[in-house]
């Protein structure tokens, strides 16, 4: 992690821009849904969300989205195509641990930029939070589980680069699924059927929507406990998928690029 932080310190401008990028989607979503409510039939809410509820929800997705950020699906293809993966494979440590270090370092480092942005957004949008102590006690672990799930599932998809090598299209598809079914554009509950059914069958809602809903105080204790159960289920699936995919991928590796 120290090394990951040191690398990021070298590229301050890039880190700032990436951090700000993570705020843009929720900011656009707040503006979009506020406008949609104004045009709705009663002009006060859509699917049980008022303008201030949406503000709270998307403000929370800024935080949760940041905690759940993972980009290995974009980079793995490059490492394998260029042969740079070989240096990582020669170490007596799974390469994934370096990615874990990079991931955590980025999130810690960018807090200094993001916290002021979040506070400013909160001041401007007047969000309505209904958070209690129980919501915090269950919501924070849910957010951390979401981060682990987002990272690991993203890494499993990234391992596809051992077979496909050029992962750009798959990376974008993965990001689109996150955006659409994860709750970054809209809470899954406002999606029309059958999209809402599809969203409930996929793991994405447990990465951003679920912790955000929990931390804004919109879920009951039973719903939060059930949600954490689903997160753990998907985490086990991700761990098993990782072990199988990694073993198969390393066997397939052709160490191109000399």
């Amino acid at each position: 992690m120290r090394v990951s932080l040191a690398v990021m310190f070298q590229y301050r401008g890039e880190i700032i821009l990436w951090a700000v990028w993570g705020v843009i989607y929720p900011a656009v979503a707040i503006a979009m849904w506020t406008a949609a409510i104004q045009g709705s039939s009663d002009g006060t809410q859509i699917a049980g969300y008022s303008a201030r509820d949406f503000a709270a929800y998307f403000l929370m997705t800024m935080v949760v989205g940041h905690v759940c950020t993972a980009w290995d699906v974009y980079e793995m293809g490059y490492y394998i195509r260029s042969g740079n993966m070989s240096a990582r494979l020669l170490r007596p440590l799974l390469p994934v641990w370096q990615n874990v270090g990079d991931n955590i370092s980025y999130k810690v480092l960018t807090l200094a930029i993001l916290i002021p942005l979040w506070l400013f957004a909160a001041w401007v949008t007047e969000p309505r939070f209904q958070t209690t102590t129980v919501h915090l006690l269950l919501g924070v672990p849910a957010m951390l589980l979401a981060a682990a799930l987002s990272f690991l599932l993203g890494y499993v998809v990234a391992i596809g680069a051992f077979w496909i090598t050029k992962m750009d299209a798959i990376s974008e598809m993965w990001f689109a699924l996150h955006l659409f079914f994860g709750g970054r554009i809209a809470p899954p509950s406002v999606l029309p059927w059958p999209l809402s059914s599809v969203a409930s069958a996929l793991p994405f809602q447990w990465m951003v929507w679920f912790p955000s809903e929990a931390l804004t105080g919109r879920l009951t204790t039973e719903q939060m406990i059930a949600g954490i159960g689903w997160q753990l289920f998907w985490l086990v699936v991700a761990v098993v998928a990782f072990r199988l995919a990694w073993a198969a991928g390393v066997k397939k590796y052709s160490a191109v690029g000399a």
């Binding site: 090394v3 040191a6 690398v7 070298q10 590229y11 042969g83 740079n84 070989s86 240096a87 494979l89 020669l90 170490r91 007596p92 440590l93 390393v250 066997k251 590796y253 052709s254 160490a255 690029g257 000399a258």
Partner: protein
Amino acid sequence: MAQIEVDRLTKTFRVPEREGGLAAALRSLIFRKYKQVQAVQEIDVRIEEGEIVGFLGPNGAGKTTTLKMLSGLLHPTSGTATVLGHVPWRREPAYLRRISMVMGQRSQLHWDLPAMDSFLLHLAIYNIDREQGRRTLNGLIEMLDLAGVLKKQVRTLSLGERMKGELCVSLLHQPAVLFLDEPTLGLDITMQARIRQFIGEYNRLHRATVILTSHYMADVTALCKRIIVIDRGRLLFDGPLAGLIERVAPFKIIAIDLQRDLDGYDFSTLGTVVSAEERKVTLRVAKDQTAAVTSRVLAELPVLDLTIEDPPIEDVISNVFAQGREGPA
């Protein structure tokens, strides 16, 4: 049991191929052709602890592929290998801690950080005792003369400095087996000599087994008593360098500087004329004839200077490749 044992090791790649041009590119969207490339074909090798073995072959011969299988980077298609009692491609941490691979074109150093940060990270990854690690690091810094580059970002280092850094990071955990894939590639003559000297010293001090691939014959002649020649995936020769010369090029090169021109003298009666210029003739003579021919030259000709050498190693190796392509070894 040898430290490295390889039995009928084979690696076949399935690679896509197509003609050039847009039409062929469009066709390949639907109809994709593949070709089987046999990079390594049933290689058998035994290497003992402490040996320095040169792996020679033309480009695409299978040298690097073999090294990658032995270092665990690649799974073979068939065959077996054990290195230090481990199956390399199982990639057990206990195995990876005892080997190292330096790839001339690939960097293990962090591009954006000072070299020292990469060294310290390496010590942490390999779980090396702090004090021991520092002693080893300081020793390597001194041997490789790295003191002046420790604080510089790796991407700002010259090729020679970076190569020294790569060697340093590869040896911090004192590996028992070292795979060096073209370690002097692109370096100037002085730096090549230093790297060779360092590798020789490291081998002597630590009895590390070194497998080295190189296109520079000076690397091979300076370091390797034993060489393995491979071409098109097949092993053509495995033995001492002197034995290879004896087998493939059993002759000597005699270079004669004359005091005056000898127009009309038939030098072909002495041996095969390699070159004939004004007052300088180079002959190729069978080894068992060298003494007789030399005596005759000194007796009959106005010799200013005379040297007797083995044929250039590059020519020897080229002959090996040529013979290998004509028929099986």
